[in-house]
């Protein structure tokens, strides 16, 4: 083999190996990389498992019992009995209005004086009044919905005991306790992967330009393709190890079941890393400055993954233009597939289209990055 042939080839495995080794050493020595890849997932999982909860439990509300009727008494008892609410009883709504304004109560339910007679004669007038704190819209709608639920359950229990023919009992699949941690924890993995794939990758590449090491690399026989692939491989491995760590933590510490297989989980994560790394590459090609690269990665990677992926906010309840936008956010496919793998199992029929979508977005990113990456110092 002559040297002449060696540098005619665009790709030399030995050079690539050296670049991968160099990058891996840098990853291991850089505390910030370790922080993002291994400490951040743990922090995120703890946050989403314990601090952020979309569940309603023991929300403080008031119940104004204006009537002494038997039915009214029994309804008030039903409110006190549910674990969703912790009830402050009152006789006059004026007592509670102030509590609500002061933020000590999230809402209150008024059982009016003529409750029993309204119920008996079915006048068609509303039976109870629910006042909620609109300053916290999420909690407000939860309180309203749960209060209605309590009332509905109470009513159906009554009619049932009075020989009503039907009863409804909802049953939730996949997440029978309706615990938000079970769908938040898999979603958190998507956020961590976005951080590794897009943020870290774009920053380390920008760093090479910023510190002038890229100029020295380019003056060697190493080709641009080798330099970039040598950069991406270690971060691909890093992303997968972070996934494994996060998944292990979720199942052991947080009690989130992994109903699907590890194979499916790793396959999904690999597919997601394609667009995530592609995006990081594109950003670094556009910004040769770590600060700008980080800003771009946060705005175009992290925020969409957090807000538009269906992780925190349901996509179905978004307005149409925003919903359309979520289709180009790779995290959207990843989050939904991850939730499937964790909570339902290997539902390939749903996951394969998601994987293909991620791959497609990834290919677009790589094509753009290739077009924008300078081949020499000229660009």
């Amino acid at each position: 083999m002559s040297v002449g042939q060696a540098f005619d080839r665009q790709f030399d495995p030995r050079r690539l190996g050296a670049l991968v080794r160099k990058e891996s050493l840098q990853v291991i020595r850089d505390p910030s990389t370790i922080l993002i890849a291994f400490v951040l997932p743990v922090v995120m999982l703890f946050l989403f498992a314990y601090a952020v909860s979309l569940d309603i439990r023991s929300v403080r509300i008031g119940v104004v019992l204006e009537s002494d009727g038997a039915a009214a008494q029994s309804l008030a008892a039903a409110f006190s009995g549910t674990r969703y609410f912790s009830v402050a009883p009152a006789r006059d709504r004026r007592e509670l209005a102030e509590e609500l304004v002061g933020g000590r109560l999230r809402g209150y339910v008024v059982i009016p004086q003529d409750f029993d007679s309204r119920l008996a004669f079915r006048t068609g007038e509303p039976l109870i009044q629910i006042i909620t704190d609109g300053a916290q819209p999420n909690t407000a709608s939860f309180v309203a919905a749960y209060a209605q639920g309590v009332f509905g359950a109470w009513q159906s229990a009554r009619t049932h005991s009075a020989a009503g023919p039907f009863s409804f009992e909802p049953r939730f699949w996949f997440n029978p306790e309706i615990e938000s941690r079970r769908f938040l924890v898999p979603g958190a993995i998507a956020i961590v992967m976005t951080m590794i794939g897009t943020l870290l990758t774009s920053m380390v590449l920008a760093r090479e330009w910023e510190r002038g090491t890229m100029e020295a690399l380019m003056s060697t026989p190493a080709s641009v393709v080798e330099i970039l692939v040598g950069k991406l491989l270690p971060y691909f491995a890093l992303g997968l190890s972070a996934t494994i760590l996060a998944a292990l933590l979720s199942t052991t510490v947080f009690g989130v079941p992994l109903r699907g297989s590890w194979l499916a989980l790793l396959l999904l994560s690999s597919m997601f890393l394609v667009p995530a790394l592609g995006q990081g590459l594109l950003i670094s090609a556009l910004a040769r400055n770590q600060f700008i690269a980080a800003e771009m990665a946060l705005l175009s990677g992290f925020l969409p993954a957090l807000l538009l992926s269906g992780f925190l906010f349901e996509i179905d309840s978004m307005p149409l233009p925003i919903r359309a936008l979520t289709y180009v956010v790779p995290a959207r496919y990843f989050v939904s597939s991850l939730q499937t793998v964790f909570l339902a199992g290997d539902a390939w029929s749903g996951m394969i289209p998601d994987m293909l979508a991620m791959l497609l977005i990834g290919i677009v990113f790589f094509a753009l990055a290739r077009a924008k990456t300078p081949k020499s110092l000229d660009a």
Binding site: V3, A6, D8, L19, K22, L25, Q26, T220, S376
Partner: protein, 597 residues
């Protein structure tokens, strides 16, 4: 790889026979609308050391990158060992070694890991790795430091490591872009000797530099200005044209800074510098020597002709140095002498963990004095400086500025000093005006006073033209003026300059020193660190630091006298510097030997 294969390699590498290592033919290079290289033709010979010199912005780095096949010429052609830089860029990458101006290696990898990376990148056969590393490490004397992270190496060692990596593939052409910037004289000397040895093996070396004493020792010189080659040939030939035009005014009875200023204001003088207690001047072409004789008589100095240096020719070729009067200094209000001592430190010690960065440093700087702090990289100059500026708390000992204790009256003492470091003092994301406003703001100026100060600085430093531009886009001379304006905003009686001219060309440096000399004549006290030995000559006194201690403190002439016995006709600061350090090293070695015995 068998010998048969390597001969095949050689055949593959040398296509059309070319006597030139590098041939540049009618090359132009444009970046947007700016023309960095204009119609340049030049040749680099194998086995020769070719110096590439010129002022900042002349196009040296662009020419280097063109030769390294990192950028393509807009017109014309560059060929390295017969290969065209556009068609066969890959081949040039394989047969040329390139060391960029900024340290291009990975600071978070050890010296050995960097070597290994470059060995693989250059396609060195794995079975040759060990012997190559051994050869390079012995050559660069880096063996004891192979496990150290590159970022923890001193400036000189970093450059040696960079050189080792660039030499990995036994290149036929070695391109070194300002390898000696920020490197102390000892390491610079070693680096130079290494490269010299390489040319002996037939390698072509291009060494770009702003040190003209280096250029003087090259075999060939390419002198660039404004994107053009102004001179191509041996340096001696250029200098010899200046025969009978260089003089020295020895021991004038007036302040030598004033003498220099007066000499530079003479019509017949094109360049001048201070050398210890003497002033060295170069006359303009075809100018008579009556004026200079007159000045010498007036200031009672002995006038003697001296041999021209390359530097004289360089400045002459570029139209001469700046005039002797600093508009900046002329407008400054004189500093009232409040006391005799401006800066004083006593037993200043700073430890970082077990490491002693400065060990009981003591000296006094009188008002209106230029005091130089010299020493190899890592000697403790910057640490001393930072403690004197109140940026770093000493572990023990005291520092005073204008009689104020930096330990107890820190902020009052700080208001008495201005600080300028070329690297960090300006904000690239702010415009020149915003930089001025910022520094006026941090010194507590508001409203009309602030506007007045800023207006004054703009006028004094002639910055009006560049107010809207980012400091990064300013010509170097103006960038320096801006940094100086920011440091002088509050009219401090003491000015600290931390390597203010690192990597700056001789013409811009002369301009800078004209301003500094002017300021000193107004009573400003200046403390300066530098790696330029010719700048040390401007100092009234120089402290030489080595291994955390002050090993010598004297006038420049006093220091030079220490090597006067060596037989050299003109002892230089550089020789004195190297000698003093070697003396300490020898003493240490002797001590070690005795302890071992």
């Amino acid at each position: 790889m068998s010998s048969q294969c390597s001969s095949a390699t050689d055949a593959a590498q040398s296509p059309p026979l070319s006597p030139w290592a590098v041939e540049i033919v009618d090359v132009c290079k444009r970046f947007g609308r700016t023309e960095a290289i204009r119609n340049v033709s030049a040749r680099v010979l194998p086995g020769k050391l070719t110096g590439l010199v010129g002022p900042d912005g002349a196009g040296k780095t662009t020419l280097m990158r063109l030769m390294a096949a990192l950028i393509a010429p807009s017109a014309g052609s560059v060929s390295v060992a017969g290969f065209d830089s556009v068609r066969d860029g890959e081949r040039i990458h394989a047969l040329a070694g390139y060391m960029p101006q900024r340290f291009g290696l990975y600071e978070d990898l050890s010296a050995m890991e960097n070597l290994r990376l470059y060995a693989h990148l250059q396609g060195l056969q794995p079975n040759l790795h060990r012997q190559t590393f051994e050869r390079l490490l012995a050559f660069t004397r880096l063996e004891p430091f192979t496990q150290r992270l590159a970022g923890r190496l001193s400036g000189g060692m970093k450059q040696k490591l960079g050189l080792a990596c660039a030499m990995m593939g036994r290149p036929r052409v070695l391109l070194l872009d300002e390898p000696s910037v920020g490197v102390d004289p000892v390491s610079r000397h070693e680096l130079w000797e290494m490269v010299r040895a390489l040319t002996g093996e037939g390698m072509a070396v291009v060494w770009s530099t702003s040190y003209l004493d280096e250029a003087e020792r090259c075999d060939q010189v390419l002198l660039m200005n404004e994107g053009r080659i102004e001179y191509e040939g041996p340096p001696g030939e250029l200098a010899s044209a200046l025969e009978h035009r260089s003089f020295r005014l020895r021991n004038p009875q007036q302040d030598r800074r004033l003498v220099l200023s007066r000499a530079l204001d003479l019509k017949s003088v094109c360049d001048g510098v201070i050398q210890g207690n003497s002033v060295r001047v170069v006359l303009r072409k075809d100018a008579g020597d009556e004026e200079i004789h007159g000045l010498a008589r007036e200031v009672e100095a002995q006038l003697a002709p001296v041999a021209p240096r390359f530097e004289d020719a360089f400045v002459d070729l570029l139209g001469g140095g700046p005039s002797g009067t600093s508009v900046i200094a002329a407008r400054m209000t004189p500093v009232r002498a409040e006391g005799k001592v401006a800066v004083e430190c006593r037993d200043l010690t700073r430890r970082f963990g077990n490491f002693v960065a400065t060990d009981r440093i003591s000296f006094q700087v009188r008002q209106g004095e230029i005091f130089g702090l010299l020493g190899p990289n890592g000697a403790g100059k910057s640490t001393t400086f930072k403690m004197l500026c109140g940026l770093l708390k000493p572990s023990s000992g005291q520092a005073h500025v204008m009689g104020l204790d930096l330990g107890t009256a820190t902020s009052q003492a700080k208001s008495k000093l201005g600080y300028m470091a070329q690297k960090f003092s300006l904000y690239g994301l702010l415009s020149a005006r915003q930089n001025l406003e910022f520094s006026a703001g941090i010194y507590g100026f508001t409203g009309a006073a602030k506007r007045e100060r800023i207006g004054e600085m703009i006028e004094i430093f002639q910055l009006r033209k560049y107010l809207g531009a980012s400091p990064n886009d300013l010509p170097l001379g103006f960038k320096q003026r801006l940094a100086l304006a920011c440091a002088l905003m509050h009219r401090p009686p003491v000015l600290f300059l931390d390597e203010p001219t690192s990597g700056v060309d001789p013409i811009t440096r002369r301009e800078f020193w004209t301003h500094i000399n002017g300021l000193v004549r107004k009573g400003v006290t200046v403390l300066v660190t530098t790696h330029f030995m010719d700048e040390a000559e401007y100092c009234d006194r120089v402290a030489l630091m080595y291994q955390a201690k002050v090993i010598a403190l004297d006038t420049p002439d006093g220091l030079k006298r220490t090597v006067a016995g060596d037989g050299a006709a003109e002892p230089t600061m550089e020789a004195a510097f190297i000698r003093l350090i070697q003396t300490v090293d020898a003493k240490n070695a002797e001590l070690h030997a005795r302890q071992a015995a």
